[in-house]
Amino acid sequence: MDRKSIIKWIKEPGKMGHKYSLWAVYFCTGCGIIEIPPVITSRWDAERFGVIPVATPRQANLFMITGYVSLKTLKAIIRTYEQMPEPKYTVAFGSCPINGGMYWDSYNTIKHIDKYIPIDGWIAGCMPRPEAIFIAVTKLWMMIDKGAATGYIRYRKNYKFYRRNQEKLFGGLLWPPLYPVDENENE
């Protein structure tokens, strides 16, 4: 630890704590998950950066969406994301969640993931190298320092719109809203 960061640690110990222990949900969507085993095991050893996969979303605060997202998976992603405790950060990994990638004209995959849940960072490529994950993690540290990683705050603020998009796609959802949705407020 260098001397400059000592002040940060004294000022905001909680923020520094969760910044250096980004625990990721071990949730696999699509083909991008093939890059995760080398990242978390000894070859690239993600624990140097404090990233480890955990079993349940309730212990995690980093959500990597790895690869294409089908409609059924999106349902599970929304439920997982809503279960995570705040602060929570999402990183879309690979080109498919960004704009559909090679599935741009598929009838059953999501084209833009940020229409349904908020995204803090994007990793482009098909497939991205494991090093790209570490670049993303260090960028995410910088964003947390500056207070720019505001995905969960935006989700709370614009929940009405996100929920509306989700309901439009699925034709109604089975679970109740996470935050109160007041329809009259908008008018």
Binding site: K72, Y107, K111, P118, N165, L169
Partner: protein
């Protein structure tokens, strides 16, 4: 090889309107009518071909027909049998085969969802993969996926831009 010839002779003798071909080594194609499907599968099962590997479907749109292919195999013989049946594309219907091969249930459910072929007698033909499907079945040749993407996914607005407007 002699056994295969004998099987061919038997099938062509018993069932009318049935042709048996050998396109390559250890492959046998049985082309038959809709009515003969259940008896032929039952006969093959009694001849030790007890394994239903898959059911697949091909959409021949120019001829206005669906081709259902039942792939049957045996653990004792290297022969791989494909029983091909053609049915009309309009209001496609066929008997279920779950009385002979029980594992056909999920294959039939999948074909019902993706092609819209109705299997009479199958107890559960509810959707398997698709969510909130509104259009015609997606694996039919006349289904336009780009049109569907424009209709469904592109019409959902971005959240951030809308917020800036208001």
């Amino acid at each position: 090889m002699r056994m295969n010839k004998e099987l061919k002779r038997k099938i062509e003798e018993i069932y009318k309107d049935t042709r048996v071909e050998f396109p390559e080594r250890n492959r046998m194609v049985v082309k038959t009518k809709k009515e003969n499907l259940l008896p032929i599968l039952e006969f093959l099962k009694s001849e030790e071909f007890r394994q239903l590997k898959a059911i697949s479907c091909v959409d021949w749109i120019e001829e206005g027909e669906f081709e259902l292919i039942y792939q049957v195999a045996s653990l004792n013989s290297p022969l791989h049998i494909m029983v091909k049946v053609r049915i009309g594309r309009e209001n496609a219907q066929i008997e279920t085969i779950i009385k002979i091969f029980e594992n056909a249930q999920v294959y039939e459910r999948e074909i019902h969802e993706l092609f819209g072929v109705k299997f009479k007698g199958n107890p559960n033909l509810s959707p398997l993969f698709l969510e909130n499907w509104q259009s015609i079945p997606p694996f039919r040749k006349d289904f336009d996926t780009r049109e569907y993407v424009k209709e469904v996914f592109d019409k959902i607005p971005r959240v951030e831009s809308e917020n800036e407007k208001s």
